[in-house]
Symmetry: C3
Subunit: 350 residues, 3 copies
């Protein structure tokens, strides 16, 4: 369970300064790394920690090469954080490779389903009529693929992921446990105090390289499809309503929610617990802070926030009470300004 | 996969203006509908789109009949949105009827369970001791019915829904994947810095015609039951605490949460991400905006909101900083008002 | 399904005032208890209800013994709420004892897994390579234990709980349906507009006596482990990011979220829907109100709140609009103060 620095540089590139046979037993955070562990320093502002870390070796940017080399073995990389990301991928493939693909005898696969080469189907998975699983995909235990559902090549479904009828997941995606793709969107017509269900006739289309966190839900569209473009990353417990469109490489943190028919651009980020209301348009490169509520369309790139600042409870109570008077305070201020102005005018009158 | 306008009117009523054999290949949104597709215009304010849509046929209210008939085939309905809702139901039944009901040989059904006629039980479902599944209900793959759980006639459980011991779901309900009915309520007695569990001895009772979204959770009561009345609609990832009571035909959007022992009336709506605190009473026909927090009982019908308005981050930072001074600002304003008043009194003194 | 007051006092202690053979058919809330039901009065401030309740018997603190005994049978306990909690545990064990432990023939257990004595494994559970299940633990239907996962003695996993590879759950824990332990943390390095996955090489370590609500997710650490200490109680639909550390006996209500690498102390409470941002430190005995967002480290014990007060929508709209001007209002107030001060100085000048 140990690799040499030399083998790492051979696999991932970068410049090695120090002995190639330096052993690396584990990748570790800079602050807690031990003598046989490898850590990274992403930016020059962490340079001071180079002297204090116990790490056996460091990944550093060129600007820190000299400082780091004085204390021990170093891998120099232009972007140490990116290098570290790739290193975790290599490390996992070296130490924790998946078992050989197999169709578990206790899986339930409809005879009409099309299972590509190298597909793994775990115990108690259910693959429905006409479903298609492309080469090298892995369907975890208790996974359910509905009628006509499709899973792209190399995609990994962790245990108990549900892909509804006719929904399509692209290639090289990762869906974590409990994900639900293609539940009905929340659509009802009001009628005499009751809600009449609008059957959701659309589906969900998910691009390539998408990662979806545990227990996250993406609803099927009412008429058209809900669309998640390539490279989108959704954290756990995220809710995506029907007919939402999320642009490529947008990332959304845990507990966030997007209501029906909202359109979110590419390269956006949405913080944890944030909510985007329905039928809005959020442009490309918009960043929504955690717990903020998007109540209007946002077309300009930038960071947007709306969140009551936390305070000790007693202070909050006073300020919250005043807040409910705020418009009145504004009017009172205006009255004061006018009174003052009048007084000054009088004074300057002859 | 195509139906004629005539067959639609025959099934659902409404007045047909135009040829009965006009083919409809798909139901589509007004803005994107094509020549062989059917769209609806719900309200007169969308009238302008009648001229621009490419839809082959339109569902319109009587007021728009003339305008719509000038351009092509029309179904006239008093409430086009309601008509559309019923049309989606008919369309689905025509195109996507469920497979014939059957008990899958890989389901695990306790011998004491009572399975009604026409019930479908999918692969790997587990039906516990003394559970009752009424006529025509469908238990999806990986569904779990605990001891003594009951599912009403015609109710559909999508894959991996869990109904806890003794919990009761009414007739014609729809429960989406991942729903958990009857997990323990969150109840503990504090004791010397520890939490002593209060066993949750109640259950959950759900009425008829209730729809519950994916991964939504409804906890069992501590002593009495948690109650969801007829016709309630809950979206995905909603949390309902123990002993909550939700009145008939109330609808709650995604990520909303209701804390223990709160009572919500009938015909309410609760927006996405909104939270109702415990032990409160919300009356009938109360509408809570998205992301708002109900911190006090609300008895008057109406719309209620509490949410920090979103802004560009720099503006938000300034306003949020000022907000933490708001009570102080109020006091300063009062001081200014008093000073001004004194000054004016002096001036008017003889 | 009935127990005598005498048998309760024999099992749980307390002082019985009244006939030992008083029958108790059910534990009930004070307000709705009937003649053959037992209720509790936790505090002297509920004393007035002693005269109005229909309960056949009451649990009361010593201060209320006389008042309660005048109307019927009483159990006197120093802490009635604690007594009640223990009573619910005893009641459940008397009335709803779990079935005898067994390994269901339709479970899938890897030959290398270690299953302790008295372990129950339900239908369609999947126990992976090298997993360890300690004595008396119960793995519910559709449970999944990954490679090398561990479940401690006496721990109960309700149906469809997923414990990822190498994750460890302590003894006497309760995990409700849909819980996901050990999904990947949300970690990506940005690179040319794409997100490069950082493989999450850590795991999750959960202490003893932890309870985790339905569909709650706890992510595995990136390099080190995510840690949940003894006695922590998490409600439903809670999100715990990677490398979070939650101190002993902290409780978090539904829909709450903790972002990556945050540290929360012991004996804290976090209200429903609250969010703790990443990399922050919250000290011991800090209490976060519902729906509040922790945006900075909090080291002092106490109650903290940040939430826009709810109001009727029209009032909210006015105040929210003014809020977006708040910093400007502050500046205007300052200008008024200065103008007033100048005016007063002039007046006092000779």
């Amino acid at each position: 369970m140990s690799r040499s620095l030399g083998s790492i540089v051979q696999a991932l590139g970068g410049t090695l300064v120090g002995p190639a046979d330096t052993p690396v037993r584990r990748l570790a955070p800079l602050a807690t790394a031990l003598a046989d562990e490898l850590a990274f320093v992403a930016q020059a502002r962490y340079a001071s920690q180079i002297q204090t870390t116990q790490a056996g070796a460091l990944i550093v940017p060129p600007a820190l090469q000299d400082a780091a080399a004085q204390r021990g073995a170093v891998i120099v990389a232009d972007d140490p954080y990116l290098y570290f990301a790739r290193l975790t991928q290599w490390w996992r493939s070296e130490h924790d490779a998946p078992a050989a693909a197999a169709i578990h005898p206790q899986a339930s696969i409809h005879p009409s389903a099309v299972i590509g080469p190298g597909v793994d189907v775990a115990a108690f998975a259910v693959i429905g009529e006409g479903a298609i699983v492309a080469a090298g995909a892995r369907i975890g235990a208790h996974g359910v693929l509905g009628r006509g559902a499709q899973v792209g090549a190399g995609t990994v479904l962790y245990p108990r992921v549900t892909i509804g009828d006719r929904c399509v997941v692209g290639a090289r995606c990762i869906l974590h446990p409990g994900v639900v793709i293609g539940a009905d969107g929340f659509g009802f017509a009001p009628h005499q105090g009751h809600w009449i269900k609008i059957e959701q006739l659309g589906a969900v289309r998910i691009g390539d390289g998408v990662e979806i966190g545990a227990n996250t839900c993406i609803d099927r569209g009412a008429l058209d499809d809900t669309v998640i473009e390539d490279g989108v990353k959704l954290d756990n417990l995220v809710q995506i309503g029907h007919n939402v469109h999320i642009g490529a490489h947008t990332a959304m943190a845990g507990n966030a929610g997007v209501a029906g028919s909202a359109t979110i651009g590419a390269h956006c980020t949405v913080g944890g617990g944030a909510i985007v209301l329905g039928h809005l348009t959020v442009g490309d490169k918009v960043h929504i802070s955690a717990a903020s509520v998007v109540t209007r369309s946002i077309r300009e790139p930038g960071q947007y926030t709306g969140m009551f600042p936390i305070d000790d409870n007693a202070s909050w109570e006073k300020n919250a009470a005043s807040l409910k008077q705020l418009n009145r305070l504004r009017e009172r201020l205006k009255a004061v300004e006018q009174a003052l102005e009048q007084a000054q005018q009088k004074k300057t009158e002859p």
